[in-house]
Symmetry: C2
């Protein structure tokens, strides 16, 4: 699914710069951080820290493990990235400029598919109301087998019937 992007007034880079330099303890916006933001927002996908590091190195961009982990946390705090709990390690995806959505995760090939459904927001509203809960965000992952893996797993006999 290709979700429509959300109109934003600033580039991710500008928004991150603003986040870093504004506030009571201004932080620097460095070249490495700029490279990371540009690289991450040059294409939309779901990634973890290790994948990001090797992809950036493959693109001849200087990035150290420590700085990558540090900057990923800052990007989440800045509202540019969202953390995705997909098991033991942390995955990330665009938050800024991208609409709210949820995920189907294939347990065979690992693929992550996005979907949208307004009734989920409504369910959150109702549950929050009923419990005096102040919602801040959510994680909704449906595990299962994707179309391609379903076909691949089918015994030949059943394929013949199609």
């Amino acid at each position: 699914m290709n979700l429509q992007s959300v109109a934003v007034s600033q580039s991710p880079e500008d928004k991150f710069r603003e986040y870093l330099t504004t506030g009571n303890k201004p932080q620097r916006f460095t070249g490495q951080q700029r490279d990371m933001v540009r690289f991450i927002f040059s294409h939309h996908d779901h990634f973890d820290a290790e994948a990001l590091i090797s992809e950036m190195q493959a693109a001849n961009l200087k990035i150290s493990r420590a700085t990558a982990y540090r900057t990923l946390n800052k990007l989440v705090d800045a509202g540019l990235l969202r953390r995705l709990e997909l098991g033991p390690r942390t995955f990330y995806e665009h938050d800024y400029g991208y609409p709210q959505h949820d995920h189907l995760q294939c347990t065979k090939c690992g693929k992550v598919i996005e979907f949208q459904n307004p009734s989920i927001e409504e369910a959150i509203r109702q549950a929050s109301l009923a419990n005096g809960f102040q919602s801040e965000g959510h994680s909704f992952v449906v595990r299962g087998v994707c179309k391609e893996c379903n076909i691949a797993l089918m015994p030949k006999r059943q394929l013949d019937l199609i």
Copy 2:
């Protein structure tokens, strides 16, 4: 919220014994495993491996770390426990004999509140249908601040207004 339990024909202990001893490679149902099942199903809550180990030790039940982790995995495979992704470590809750539900998690005190909403199942059904996806289960956690923490966080001025 106290959810109604689901009628089951076997005790958790019997179900686990059946899971272990049935199949092409039968496994033993040992005393330690029996103690774990009984302890876990003697009360309903959300727990992680470390908490379970210290609580069982406090109850004078012999349990080693290795066996605890091993048996927790078997209990999930057997359909007795469900894994809860609530951050870096794995939490568990009853699956067998307990109805489908989802969770509100307080980011201040860590409390986990259960809720039910049939529209979530429907949303999963729709998304699966639209993507040729075979759903096997899901994890839905809403993060936020619970009623008690909201009150505690309120500035005194606002409390006076209540």
